[in-house]
Symmetry: C2
Subunit: 224 residues, 2 copies
DNA sequence: CACTAAAGCGGAGGTGCCTCCGTTTGTTTA
DNA sequence: TAAACAAACGGAGGCACCTCCGCTTTAGTG
């Protein structure tokens, strides 16, 4: 689904001609719980780490992935050394931010499902999905590297996102708010249009209309 | 398909046709090729540009793509400003070097074809091809970005390389030195094994044997 | 509490990146 | 050949990256 995939570059098995040492990024806080034999971060360290991620998310969104790391540290109120201890490379930080956003997107699905009728939840979520893609423009190249370098990242995240969507669609179909004869992957595919040219000025509006149109189609012929 | 990197000059002394600091004069056309319909570079500019590419090729080969640009400029005997004027970004420089190396590889095919019996030429070329892949580990990430960013580069170069190989194979088949019932793309495919684990210590030897084995297979049942 | 080891912090400093602009050099024209 | 000018040069300067290590804070322990 994510067009950044760069899946296979031809018929030959593509091999990682290996490059520089990139230590595995650490898991986020929650994830450390299931990680075996890993002491939890000290309270202050945890706090700083969270702030860094928070600030980095904003900075990446507004300035692109090339945002100054020193500026991120500054705004997070920590020294540059602290940033580097937590995230040895820029990619580490990008990855954590990326995963966090995916997490947020999936979490939003649950939340919306609880607070709205199933069809509305679906629509709102799709709109949010569009926003999500929008913010990723700047990150495109860095993500491209990341997603080819780190194949887990790709499968993890795309799995989570499509799972969230599938849940919303099935709920909406079950409740009769949308027609029952659609498959989640079809809807996913229909959203494909939003990948095109995400930098034109009217892209956001066009995508919004695409979602509405899609919803109309989904509601057409629904039971109730 | 050919997402591997630049050839190194002289990491393995296998094939002795490595150019001895007398680069082909037509290499200088490179500059003008980039910018068609444009005044030729001034003599000094051309000279500097050539030196930069030359030095960059060496540095990239020995230190990886992260080689210091300032060091490259220094060794080429020019100021850093000059480097940047010719190659506004690191990627520009990498691309030019990469294209040059591909060119060299293809040129070697012709040369080998003139100097050796067709089957020997093919074998030698494949060995050189292995070297070419072997050395470029460090460039993997940068090239990956380049090749996804710049799709022309990818199709250009992979076309050139497979074209060169096809030529050698057809010539060998035509002269009866190898069997006639093989297709170039099959041979290419058979070479696929060399992509695996190019960092293990015995990789070079294993790949060399693979090539020999392949040649045996190709010679088996040849007319003459 | 008080104490201590370990964890965490931060920022100076060395290096590389890239831009900008005054100076030098090649080329063209007269 | 000389003058004139565009092209090219080069390096200083400013900013970002990242490492290193002495200082500070935390979380246990008695």
């Amino acid at each position: 689904m994510f067009s950044w995939g760069l899946a296979s570059h031809g018929s030959t098995p593509h091999i990682a001609l290996v490059e520089k040492k990139v230590p595995e990024p650490e898991m986020t806080t929650e994830a450390t719980r299931d990680a075996p034999a890993q002491r939890p971060l000290r309270a202050d360290a945890q706090r700083n780490r969270d702030r860094l991620v928070e600030v980095a998310a904003q900075m990446f969104a507004s300035d692109g992935v090339d945002a100054s790391l020193e500026e991120i540290a500054r705004r997070a109120g920590v020294g540059i050394g602290t940033l580097y201890r937590h995230f040895p490379t820029r990619e580490h930080l990008v990855e954590v931010v990326y995963r966090r956003e995916v997490e947020g997107l999936c979490h939003a699905a649950e939340e919306l499902a609880n607070e709205h009728p199933a069809d509305v939840a679906l629509e709102l979520w799709m709109q949010r999905f569009v926003d999500y893609i929008a913010t990723k423009r700047g990150l495109a190249t860095s993500l491209r590297v990341l997603l080819t370098t780190n194949s887990t990242l790709f499968s993890d995240t795309s799995g989570r996102v499509s799972g969230a969507m599938r849940g919303l669609i099935e709920a909406a179909a079950a409740s009769g708010k949308i027609r029952a004869d659609v498959d989640a992957s079809d809807v996913m595919h229909a959203l494909g249009g939003i990948y095109s040219a995400p930098n034109t000025p009217d892209w956001r509006e066009r995508s919004g209309r695409l979602v509405k149109l899609l919803m109309d189609g989904l509601r057409f012929g629904a039971r109730g």
